[in-house]
Symmetry: C2
Subunit: 197 residues, 2 copies
Amino acid sequence: MSKLLTDLIEALRCLPGVGGKSAQRMAFHLLERERERGLRLAQVLEQAMQRIGNCTRCRNFSEEPVCPICASSSRDRQVLCVVESPTELAAIEQATGYRGQYFVLLGRLSPLDGLGPEELGLDLLTERLAEGEIEEMVIATNPTVEGEATAHYLAQLARAAKVKPTRLAHGVPLGGELEYVDRSTLAHAFGSRQPLG
Amino acid sequence: MSKLLTDLIEALRCLPGVGGKSAQRMAFHLLERERERGLRLAQVLEQAMQRIGNCTRCRNFSEEPVCPICASSSRDRQVLCVVESPTELAAIEQATGYRGQYFVLLGRLSPLDGLGPEELGLDLLTERLAEGEIEEMVIATNPTVEGEATAHYLAQLARAAKVKPTRLAHGVPLGGELEYVDRSTLAHAFGSRQPLG
Ligand SMILES: [Zn+2]
Ligand SMILES: [Zn+2]
């Protein structure tokens, strides 16, 4: 096999979920049928890797100093949703009708990995809360041990700034069958049962 | 979402088997954790799309006028294996101990799609057979209707040049359970049964 083709197959393996076999299939597919789009991908990918940084206000991915959400005049400035990563921000934007602002931690408190308040930009978050506009902080860290510890820490920051902390509700996923829900979620959902009508 | 990020997610969909959701996951993964390798992929991909052409002798992918297999002095020049595409050439190279040469059709006879002898480079193949070195032509087109028609045509070319045409054996895949083998393969395998010991 030609050197450049071998290099391409190897390079494609940086994509998540792509092993040697899919990488080879992708390389041949692009060469045989999608040269134009492959070239376009190369160019956009290079630009994205070089130019996408983080918003100076919310730390979400952005190629501008201030991202479109922070710059928007139509988003509610009284609610701030704190997430661990841009992936979760995108999931909330796509699934919910949330129209407030965000703050992205780019991680979660994890002292063993060297992730403390400074790495998560909590000084920036504290400044933001001190501006006085925010009334509610929706804490949307993941429901893992570290995510919960982070949520606890964030709630204290919020209270210190006289901001109301809230947390996403836990429970049985909509359309989820009880027998397939994990035990701790089921226990939580049972304990948090709500009165009907 | 930032414009460049949206463009990247859209561009990643040129990869086979990658829909909107995986494209988004790939983009976030590269931005969050693999900038260096993402940049390397962009550069190799651009070079590959621009510089990989076809070998002037066998039509396999190559960034040189003559590919490494055609240029090799250690490959058997008396056997020529004809395949539809570089993908099948790679599969044969990786799975078998074949040490002969190749010819890649870059398609199969399909008059409705405008693919005739000229598009498949059969003039080049005829010249190659006329050189007189080749003794056997292994026809490894796919066992589809068009692949079989192509095999039939190729066998005639070979005979006209006094070259022995051979075809890959059909049958039950090794380790394949009979109940999962398609009916026509099973019928063929039964009809072509071999004496034991
Ligand atoms: Zn922002
Ligand atoms: Zn060649």
